[in-house]
Symmetry: C2
Subunit: 316 residues, 2 copies
Amino acid sequence: MSIQLIDALHAHRRIRPFVHQTPCLTSGALDQMTRATLHFKCENFQKSGSFKMRGALNSTLSLNEEQARHGIVAHSAGNHGGALALAGQLQGIKTTIVVPEDASRTKLEAIADYGARIISCAPTWEAREATVEEIVSAQGATYIHPVNQATVMAGQGTVALEILHQCSQLDAVVIPVGGGGLISGMATVLKEIAPEIEVIGVEPTGASSGARSFETGRYGADPSAQISTIADGLAAPITPETFSVIRDKVDRFLTVSDRQIEEAMILIWTRMKMIVEPAAAAALAAVMSEQSLFAGQNIALVMTGGNVDLKNLPWS
Amino acid sequence: MSIQLIDALHAHRRIRPFVHQTPCLTSGALDQMTRATLHFKCENFQKSGSFKMRGALNSTLSLNEEQARHGIVAHSAGNHGGALALAGQLQGIKTTIVVPEDASRTKLEAIADYGARIISCAPTWEAREATVEEIVSAQGATYIHPVNQATVMAGQGTVALEILHQCSQLDAVVIPVGGGGLISGMATVLKEIAPEIEVIGVEPTGASSGARSFETGRYGADPSAQISTIADGLAAPITPETFSVIRDKVDRFLTVSDRQIEEAMILIWTRMKMIVEPAAAAALAAVMSEQSLFAGQNIALVMTGGNVDLKNLPWS
């Protein structure tokens, strides 16, 4: 499964009235520290607090009338669930989010605030998939997968369309990678319109299935591999579907430690006075860890989201 | 001591090339919660992280050549010191900041980062004033007072000039009050240009010399009165000089508890994904505590600054 540039263009036309065109912010202090020119694409200011709103809305807006009547379902412990709940609420579509029992209270509250029905299940991937399947069978609901879904990838690709409008003369775009939906959509757009821009994926060392697969050229996301990172938004393996796009269209992968992520997060909070989640900070961590690679360059960094539990911060 | 509208207009012309024209941001979620239309004037994004940069720069830019050669001095445990240090650095003026021994490490680091000389003294107002006096005598430095200084008041007044350009049809402007320099400068501008706009001061209940003086009509800042609030930026009494402006030009005072400030701070951080200090959150706390007063109104709230110690947050 993959998408074409035109799918992202159509997605942008579809979702544009309902999402924020988020700003690309700059910081003199961080430019000085990295000796590069950084453009922070602020999806932390996006509706629902993350870029996931784009894929979610493109999915709900692509349902036909009958599908919409039967509602949508997804499993998520985080931003995908919140985004779908809000997209469903905006369009009056019955939304059910299956959440693992160990999900954070903050994320659950956001999903509930947006009016979605919450079904709890055991904290395993199998239980999550099985519970979703039950709801699909019983209710005829449409399952919106967080990454393996053309409407989702196309929606996330619109981040790249906006970056190309907002920033000129980019040398590289740095994109945090979890399941790989965002980088798949964005790389498709970037390699068609501006193939000279380097597309760089970033993963935490504790959740680096993308980097490992990219290095070997073979899909190597061992589902039993231990995932361990403070970047909850990146705590997922890429999928065979997203890997097929990544292999062809991504230029480079970098990995960063949790400690580097935390330091980058503190820098963004204190210097830019904006709240980003650890997943977003991973992009700056990558630029800071490879100063010789990036020095003098014009770089866009995707700030994926800003949903954090203020009472459970990495440094507290 | 007071200023005229023209002083703020001149100040704006003087400082404009060196400061950010900070945005006025809105939030659909917070509008819904308050049933009002809120405009957040984001001085947390200002250089040095607070509005104090305006008064500091207007002061350093107003020095004559000989004064500039002898340097400047101030005492501060917070934003005034950081702003003066940065203003001095930008203009190559030797800057000395006298800080009480109990000042937070974060604020000290900011002052040091901006290249100012730091002199430590006992944590009393008398010791601070005396240490400054010594430096004035020994070095011929110019003392820049945090509020009782026409150049400072005029600089802070430029926040009001920008709000009037950025927001139309305002019913009220809500301004956090510490020593009273910001509200004195802003009220002078607002009452000349747009007298129909209500000028509202906000203080923490634990640092409410302004509210008490305003109610009785007589300056009542008992210097021995215990000041206790999480809003360190507001932990100062108004002065007789600022009171004379406040008495004539402010329409209303509101007080808010530390708990209300903390709740408002969490709302701004989580809903707007931006970092504000407790002093700034006091403005939203006031609007939330007086919903019937503000319902349906167009209100500007001054986000005074964004300098917080991330490792020592109110809720941690």
